[in-house]
Structure formats: structure tokens, C-alpha cells
């Protein structure tokens, strides 16, 4: 018989059945021992939470205290800029195809730079539809879209406001970047001007070296 069921010291009978619980004994009818046992537990909790070093209470008082998100936390999307500030995106539709929520909308245009075939005229993400799966980041061949901002999509007043466009997404930056360092931060080495990530340079995985998705 399992120990969990054996809560009152009952033993299994001949048929192997353990009866849980029992008729109240004299001690049970007196209530006092049971009350004392209960008080022992509540008083232990009370004093440990009041003055103890290690408390039972695990509450995080949200607006005042915030949880440190893990390094690979998938937050708000961002478009990674090139050194000139334009998006690294080459409008290949890989992310739009990969997206299970169909929240990415891209309209491609022809790039003036002959080394880059296409660029996104429109790049919109409907953050209300997004299921935060990170497949767009995995799919991107150019490391142009990342989810390493470290914060959630901001609350909005209307559904339209939740469609974040290219300009909005380019403004976001990674949690380890700052406003000042972002413009000068060199993007990972790309292969022959295509914007494609040169994986051999150690830009490990879809998220890039600086922080996860």
C-alpha cells in the first residue's frame, strides 16, 4: 500500500484494502491535542514569515518588484538595423511563411542597392495575434528579426495600435544594447552584402550572440 494513503497509520486488511481515516478516538474528541497541533503549524508559519530569514512567502509585489527574465526570454519583436539604419530584412517572406499565427505582413519592394535584391516596403506584426513562438526568428536567414528586447508588447488602446510597423520595430533595441551604443554596434559579419549571416563567424544560432530570441 502506498504511504500517501496511509495517513492515519491504518494497515491494509486481508483483502489488501487500506481504509483511510478512522472513527474519532478519545483524543480526537477532546479537540485540544488537534488544536495544539494546528496551532503549532500556523505559529511556525507566522513567525517564520514575520522574522525568519528564509520565509515561506514567495510573493513578488509586481509593480514594485519585477522578475528578472531569463536570458532567452522571447519578448517584443524588433528589426535589426544595418549600419546605415535601414532594416536588414530582405523581404524573403520566410518569417511570414513560418508564422503559425499569421501575424506578419510583408510587402516587398525592389532595393536600389544592387547587392540587396529586395527590401520590405511594409513590415507589420500584429502583436495581438502573435503567439510568441519565436519561429520567425528561427526562420530568418539574415538575423533581421529578433525577440531579444526583454519586454512585452506595450498595452494599446485599439486593435490597430497593436499593428507595429517597420519604423516602430526598428526603434526597438535589444536588452543588452542601449540607445547610444546601438547605432555604432556592428552587425554580425554578413556574407557578401546579401545580409545573410555568416554562421562561421560564431554568431551562434538564430538569436545571434547577443541574447537568445
Amino acid at each position: 500500500m502506498s504511504k500517501v494513503l496511509d495517513i492515519h497509520g491504518s494497515k491494509p486488511n486481508e483483502e489488501g484494502v487500506t481504509e483511510v481515516g478512522h472513527e474519532p478516538t478519545t483524543a480526537d474528541r477532546l479537540y485540544v491535542p488537534a488544536i495544539a497541533a494546528g496551532l503549532k503549524t500556523t505559529i511556525r508559519h507566522f513567525f517564520k514569515n514575520l522574522i525568519g530569514k528564509e520565509k515561506y512567502t514567495q510573493t513578488i509585489q509586481y509593480p514594485d518588484q519585477k522578475v528578472e527574465y531569463p536570458e532567452r526570454f522571447r519578448g517584443m519583436h524588433r528589426l535589426v538595423p544595418r549600419e546605415d539604419g535601414t532594416s536588414r530584412c530582405v523581404a524573403c517572406y520566410m518569417c511570414q511563411t513560418a508564422c503559425p499565427a499569421r501575424c506578419i505582413h510583408i510587402v516587398a519592394g525592389e532595393s536600389e542597392d544592387p547587392s540587396i535584391e529586395k527590401y520590405p516596403v511594409v513590415f507589420e506584426i500584429d502583436e495581438l495575434r502573435c503567439v510568441v513562438c519565436g519561429l520567425c526568428v528561427e526562420a530568418c536567414p539574415c538575423d533581421a528579426i529578433r525577440m531579444d528586447t526583454g519586454y512585452h508588447p506595450k498595452p494599446v488602446y485599439s486593435r490597430e495600435d497593436a499593428d507595429f510597423g517597420k519604423a516602430d520595430l526598428l526603434k526597438n533595441f535589444g536588452r543588452h544594447e542601449t540607445e547610444g551604443s546601438r547605432r555604432t554596434a556592428r552587425p554580425p559579419a554578413t556574407a557578401a552584402g546579401t545580409g545573410r549571416v555568416d554562421r562561421s563567424s560564431g554568431d551562434g544560432g538564430a538569436g545571434g550572440a547577443t541574447g537568445g530570441y
Binding site: 488544536i35 500556523t42 505559529i43 507566522f46 514569515n49 520565509k55 515561506y56
Partner: protein, 379 residues
């Protein structure tokens, strides 16, 4: 001026009593919520804040009682159109007053001598002190029952009826459990009982009620919690089922029932302190004991006289201060214990409440009384 001095003393005593009763009621509502939070591994209310000089002061949520009172006072006072308006309005007062009155017989300090006159630190000193407690506390049942009756609500009526049955049942037990102490100390007067509890049994154990009548203490404590209609005896309230006799009340009228409950906690703690925990007595702090000071002269006065031989002279004033402090400490400890019990125990069923009252505690208290009477007679 001379002629008014006794009245000033009376006013001072009454003010001190009200300060204890009302001053503890607010913090007790806070303590109840914070303490239950601590017991249940939560944080509890802590966000009521006061901003002073640009700094936000939260004081562990101590402003919550103030916020609550402001809320209750400014709330709409609704009255059911079928309600009996007079009884409906008077019921909260009838519920609140006995709670406040009972504390009058509780001594909160020893007699002190100021300018050759002896002053008592007790609002009312009556020979029938304990009987007055029971007489007044049985009025409280009227407030509750009237509230239930006048509300013109079935749930309120049910709550009021349950409360009256429960309070009357447990009053019997409560009175009988104290009789043992009355036999032992030979007085009904609380301050005389406290003085009698200053003696030592066998030279080391204070002669407190809890040591001479432990069973009586458990019965009285149980009955007192039942009188106060708190969990595990909250049949009259029954938040999870009928809400209770005050279900129709709103605003500060509800607040008065709520306040009465917390004042009753203080009163129960005061009575337990006086009857069972030696009132204002500090263990081994005694009056009229001989002390030998450094110069080798012997003085007679108030001071510690430890059973293991040590002596510490405190003088009358320090002694009195220590004793009032001891009374307040015991009072607050017993309030804390009552809150602790409330958040430890599950509720009884109504038939269990009645069974416990009439078939367990009443015979037990009668047996305790007979046994005590026999022992007192033989010794």
C-alpha cells in the same frame, strides 16, 4: 478644584479604558488581516500609504484601518424598506455598548497612592464584578437578534436566531467555568481576584487561574470565542452560507457590528488576563517585602523577590508601571492568540456547536465545579 479631583480620576480611568478598547479595535482589524496573511504565506494589505514631505509612508499597512473607516463612513447607508427602522438603527448600538461596558470591571493596574489617597486603576469596582460581566454580556445577544429581526431578511433572521441560541448556550458554560475560580479565590471582585493571584504555590509557581484551574481555562476560552461568534463558532455569521445578522447593514452601521467583534476580542482577552493570567501581576513582583539595601538597612516595599533567592527593589512607581505594562502585554498576547486560533481552526457545523456546548462543555464545567468545590472544602 479639590472637589473635582475624584471626577478627574474617574474620567482618566474611563479614558484609559476606552483607549484600550477602541485603540486596539482598529489595529486588530489590521492585525487580523496581516496575521492571516503571514499564516497563509501571503503578504497581506500593505498598500494604504500616506505621503508626507514627498515620501511615501506605508507603515506595514497600518493605514488600512483608517482607510476602512473613511470608506465605511462615506458609504451610502441603505435601509431595507420592509425593515423596522427604529430597531434596525438601534441594533448596532445595542451590540456595541455591552462590548465596551464589560471592560469596566477589568483592573488594568494595582492601586496606587497619590498624595496620601489610594486610587484604583479600574473603572468600576463592584463586589459583584464577575456577575456584572455576565449580566452585561448577555445584553449583547439583543443587538444581534434585533439586527436579524429588524432587517426583514430571511438570512439575517436566520443569523440572528442562530446567534441567540449559541450565545445563550455558551453563557451557561462560561458562568459555570468561572465559578471554580470564585470558589478558590473566595471573591467575585476582579481586582481582589488579581491580588489573590499574586501569591505563590509551593514558593515558585504563581497562583494564576490557569495553573489552579486549567480545565476551567480551556472551557472559558472556548465559550468566550463562541460568545464572540468567531470561527470556529461563526454560525451566526457564516460568511460562506448566510452572511449573517448584519447582511442588510451597510456603511458605518455594519462597521459598528464589526467594531463590536474586535472590542469583544479585547474584552475576552481582558477577562482571560484577569481571571486566568494574574491580571496585572508580574511573577515574583511583590508588595510589602523586606529588602536589604547596599547600606545594610532594611526597607519594606515593592520589588522582585525571586524564589531562587535574588532580590530587586523597584519601588511603588516602577512596580506599578511594570504591572500596567504586564497587563497590556498579556492583553495583546491573548488577542494575538485569539486571531491565531481563528485562522487555525475550521468551522463547526451548527449541530456540532450545540453538541459541544450542551453535551460536552456544560457537563465538563459542572464536573470541574463539583471537583473544585470538594477540594476547596477539604483543604
Amino acid at each position: 478644584m479639590e472637589a473635582y479631583t475624584p471626577y478627574l480620576w474617574d474620567l482618566g480611568r474611563i479614558a484609559f479604558m476606552f483607549a484600550i478598547c477602541l485603540g486596539l479595535a482598529g489595529p486588530l482589524t489590521w492585525a487580523e488581516r496581516r496575521q492571516s496573511a503571514m499564516i497563509q504565506d501571503r503578504i497581506g494589505p500593505n498598500r494604504a500609504a500616506l505621503t508626507l514631505f514627498g515620501r511615501e509612508i506605508r507603515a506595514f499597512g497600518l493605514f488600512h484601518p483608517i482607510a476602512d473607516v473613511i470608506k465605511l463612513i462615506t458609504k451610502e447607508d441603505t435601509i431595507n424598506i420592509h425593515a423596522d427602522r427604529f430597531l434596525y438603527n438601534v441594533a448596532p448600538f445595542i451590540a456595541l455598548f455591552p462590548a465596551l461596558m464589560t471592560f469596566a470591571v477589568v483592573p488594568f493596574g494595582p492601586d496606587i497612592t497619590v498624595g496620601g489617597e489610594v486610587h484604583r486603576l479600574q473603572v468600576a469596582r463592584m463586589d459583584a464584578g464577575i456577575l456584572v460581566v455576565f449580566a452585561i454580556s448577555s445584553i449583547a445577544v439583543f443587538g444581534v437578534t434585533l439586527a436579524g429581526y429588524a432587517s426583514a431578511s430571511k438570512f439575517a433572521l436566520l443569523g440572528g436566531l442562530r446567534a441567540s441560541a449559541q450565545m445563550i448556550s455558551y453563557e451557561v458554560t462560561m458562568g459555570l467555568s468561572v465559578l471554580g475560580l470564585v470558589l478558590i479565590f473566595g471573591t467575585l471582585e476582579p481586582s481582589a481576584m488579581v491580588v489573590a493571584q499574586g501569591e505563590l504555590i509551593g514558593g515558585w509557581l504563581p497562583r494564576w487561574g490557569v495553573f489552579v484551574q486549567p480545565l476551567s481555562f480551556i472551557i472559558f476560552f472556548t465559550a468566550a470565542i463562541a460568545e464572540n461568534k468567531r470561527i470556529p463558532f461563526d454560525m451566526a455569521e457564516g460568511e460562506s452560507e448566510i452572511v449573517g445578522y448584519f447582511v442588510e447593514y451597510s456603511g458605518m452601521k455594519f462597521g459598528m457590528f464589526f467594531m463590536a467583534e474586535y472590542i469583544e476580542i479585547t474584552v475576552v482577552a481582558g477577562l482571560l488576563t484577569t481571571l486566568f493570567f494574574g491580571g496585572w501581576q508580574v511573577p515574583y513582583l511583590m508588595d510589602g517585602v523586606e529588602f536589604v539595601n547596599a547600606a545594610g538597612t532594611t526597607i519594606v516595599g515593592t520589588g522582585f523577590h525571586f524564589p531562587w533567592g535574588g532580590q530587586l527593589y523597584t519601588g511603588e512607581w516602577v512596580g506599578a508601571g511594570l504591572r500596567v505594562g504586564a497587563f497590556l502585554f498579556k492583553l495583546i498576547f491573548l488577542c494575538w492568540l485569539q486571531l491565531m486560533l481563528r485562522w487555525t481552526l475550521p468551522r463547526f457545523r451548527y449541530d456540532q456547536v450545540m453538541t459541544l456546548g450542551w453535551r460536552r462543555l456544560l457537563p465538563l464545567s459542572l464536573a470541574n465545579l463539583v471537583l473544585t468545590a470538594a477540594v476547596v472544602l477539604l483543604i
